[in-house]
């Protein structure tokens, strides 16, 4: 009996091993840490459990920047993953690298209808007329509001805010002591170029020329447009008046200020929703609203990151890679990802799934990003700026906000930053031409 058992186990083991060997393994590099990382690993596990002949090996490769560095080294050595997650602003660089297999090619050969995609994320990752990457974790910026404070100050909650209305509300929400020191700020926004970019789009302006680099390669930045000048000027004025908290560049500070009830309104990505609600921990009610605009609301571009399939995969690997991608695009996976993180679904119809509807009723804040997306006009403003050297350019924009806060006129600060940003873009573009 024992012998039979042992023999049986051995046979089973060797069969399992043989099966293991027959599996097509694909490498997936991602940059999702913390809770988001757990959610990604969860999806990978779901996929692997559902497969008999494909195995996705996921690896966390550090921040988005770390991931790109690892990829660049890997390209030199010919050691690249099958699938890699790259942030929004790396899009131009990834396309220019020539090392990727555009998603549109793979999708078409597998008869996948691209019309299933929500148009805005699809637009964002469409470069030179082709969808290059899978919009995976897509977010947009939101205002997070402490409704208890709003009610106390006699301000009606609504989801759409003109910049001037937001200023009036923020001033009302600010509490100062007798000496004029702010005890509670009306609003806090981390010093991050992303919000300046989004304000351009939402106000119907391009952040870079050639219609956000969508008609032709962007050769100049356009953040000296009236909307951005007004926004940065507004920012500096509110900080000077003690209405906006100057919390530096970290988004975590904004979340801390909000959770500690030091600021009534903060601007953050929709992807921070789960974490922020956890920090607040039911101390007060939080409502999310759309990102502000100058005169007329156009709608914002998406942020976040996308997945690129790398070139040079064998037919078998490519099939497995597509298998994983199409798994991620399944309504159920999209719903799970959306509700687990706050990123929105990129496939149409997910919001109508019963479990999503239920979750939205329970936590209406999950809907805001979706509503904001649905009401965003589909045009080249909301397609978002596509430019090389974007990570460097972002540093200059953040620097300009800081200069404005220190007292430099906003128009001048942005103009100086534009000179530096244009030089960086020039360097990038001329390096690509060679």
């Amino acid at each position: 009996m024992k012998k039979v058992l042992i023999a049986g186990t051995l046979v089973a083991l060797s069969m399992a091993l043989a099966q293991q060997n027959a599996k097509t393994e694909i490498q997936f590099w991602h940059s999702m840490g913390g809770v988001l990382g757990e959610r990604v690993e969860g999806l990978v596990k779901d996929f692997n459990d559902s497969q008999t002949n494909t195995m996705v090996k996921s690896t966390y490769v550090g921040s988005y920047d770390d991931g790109i560095n690892k990829l660049l080294a890997g390209i030199r050595a010919g050691k690249v993953p099958n699938l890699i997650q790259v942030y929004d602003i790396g899009s131009r660089t990834m396309v220019d690298s020539g090392a990727i297999e555009p998603l549109e090619n793979i999708a078409k050969s597998n008869n996948f209808d691209l019309e299933q995609f929500v148009p805005q994320p699809r637009n964002y990752y469409t470069v030179d007329g082709k969808l290059n990457a899978l919009p995976f974790n897509s977010s947009n910026p939101l205002l997070y509001m402490n409704t208890a404070m709003l009610a106390k100050a006699g301000i009606q909650y609504r989801n759409s805010w003109r910049l001037s209305d937001l200023e009036a509300a923020a001033r009302k929400l600010t509490i100062k002591d007798a000496s004029g020191t702010t005890l509670r700020y009306g609003i806090a926004i981390p010093i991050d170029s992303w919000f300046v970019e989004q304000f351009s789009y939402n106000s119907g302006e391009y952040f870079c020329n050639n219609e956000n680099g969508r008609k032709a390669r962007a050769s100049e930045m356009n953040f000296t447009n009236p909307a951005d000048v007004a926004f940065v000027d507004w920012w500096a004025r509110l900080v000077k008046d003690g209405v906006m908290a100057n919390i530096g560049r970290s988004g975590d500070n904004a979340q801390a200020a909000f959770a500690q009830e030091k600021a009534a309104i903060v601007a953050q990505s929709t992807a921070s929703l789960t974490g922020l609600l956890k920090l607040v921990g039911g101390k007060f009610e939080t409502r999310t609203a759309f990102f502000p605009f100058l005169k007329e609301r156009n709608g914002v571009a998406i942020g976040g990151a996308s997945l690129y399939a790398m070139k040079g995969q064998s037919a078998e690997e490519l099939k497995a890679t597509w298998g994983f991608i199409s798994f991620l695009l399944k309504p159920n996976s999209q719903a799970k990802w959306h509700l687990g993180t706050g990123y929105f679904p990129v496939i149409k119809g997910v919001a109508a799934l019963p479990n999503v509807v239920q979750a939205h009723v329970k936590q209406p804040n999950f809907q805001t990003a979706l509503r904001q997306l649905e009401t965003t006009k589909v045009n080249n403003y909301s397609a978002g700026c596509l430019a090389g050297a974007f990570p460097e350019i972002r540093q200059y924009v953040a620097g300009a906000i800081e200069e404005a806060i220190k007292g430099k006129p906003a128009a001048e600060a942005l103009k100086d930053a534009k000179a530096k940003a244009d030089a960086a873009l020039d360097r990038y573009n001329s390096a690509i031409k060679k």
Partner: protein, 286 residues
């Protein structure tokens, strides 16, 4: 009798004023030490808080909880990461100690042709920043087929110019007579190295080992780039994995950081003397 008592009496007020004089010094040093240790204590405090208490403005957590540690250990395979770090750091340290003492001995005590030139070249290597050699080294390691193995994490670091420099300087400062005596007794180079040089240089070696271990433990970019699978990644990558771009659970991050910090902290407490003399010897480099 009187003669004996006098110095005792006389020494008392002197001691007192000495102590008195030292008060400002110790006050200053304690303040400085406090400033240095405060972030560490804050980190520790954060690691014992629940999500909702994270930003409570108290130094001590309002309610103690070990939940962040549980999350850090269960949600992330921190154990295997720590093991990888421990293994690579230990082997790198062992390698550096062996190569440095051998090369240091050769450069200090063996009459080699072009000895000074070789030593000069090694010192010159100290000036080459790691960023320059990073990519060539990566490509080299790749062509050897070492990517995603312990070999890639260990072998490139088992010889260190700083270590050779330190050992050469230290062995050179020892009296030549000791080496001559050993030679007269018929000892070969290996015997002299093992029985004379290494025992005498144990303090320098200890310092070198401590510094090397710390440096290897803290490596981030190299292990990140050369590993391809989770199973090979090290503890520093695990800590960064706890951080999320869209807002982190800082209590869990803090717990993870404490867990990763612990081995070096223990190593420091055990080898405190060696560390201090090592920093004094090396001047910098951590």
């Amino acid at each position: 009798m009187i003669h004996n008592l006098e110095p005792v009496h006389a020494s008392k007020p002197i001691n007192f004023s000495k102590i008195f004089k030292r008060i400002p010094f110790y006050l200053l040093v304690s303040t400085y030490a406090f400033v240095i240790i405060l972030p560490l204590l804050t980190l520790f405090s954060a690691s014992l808080r629940s999500d909702a208490d994270l930003y409570a403005p108290t130094f001590l957590p309002p309610r103690f909880t070990l939940e962040p540690y549980r999350l850090a250990l269960t949600s992330y395979p921190l154990g295997s990461y720590l093991l990888n770090s421990f293994l690579t750091s230990s082997l790198i340290t062992l390698g550096v100690v062996i190569t440095s003492s051998m090369a240091g001995y050769a450069l200090a005590r063996v009459k080699l042709p072009y000895r000074e030139l070789i030593f000069g070249a090694i010192v010159g290597l100290l000036l080459v920043p790691g960023e320059i050699t990073f990519l060539p080294l990566y490509l080299h390691v790749n062509s050897l087929g070492w990517l995603d193995t312990y070999t890639a994490l260990i072998v490139p670091f088992i010889a260190s110019p700083l270590g050779i420099f330190l050992m050469r300087q230290f062995l050179k400062s020892l009296p030549q007579d000791l080496f001559d005596a050993a030679k007269i007794d018929g000892a070969g180079h290996f015997r002299i190295l093992w029985h004379v040089a290494i025992p005498l240089a144990s303090s320098a070696l200890g310092a070198l080992a401590a510094l090397t271990f710390l440096g290897a433990w803290n490596m981030y970019l190299w292990p990140l780039v050369t590993t391809q699978s989770k199973e090979m990644q090290t503890a520093q990558i695990a800590v960064s994995n706890l951080v999320s771009a869209e807002g982190s659970q800082w209590n869990v991050v803090a717990a993870g950081a404490i867990l990763v910090l612990l081995p070096t902290l223990v190593a420091f407490l055990v080898a405190q003397k060696a560390f201090v003399s090592g920093i004094a010897l090396g001047g910098l480099k951590g």
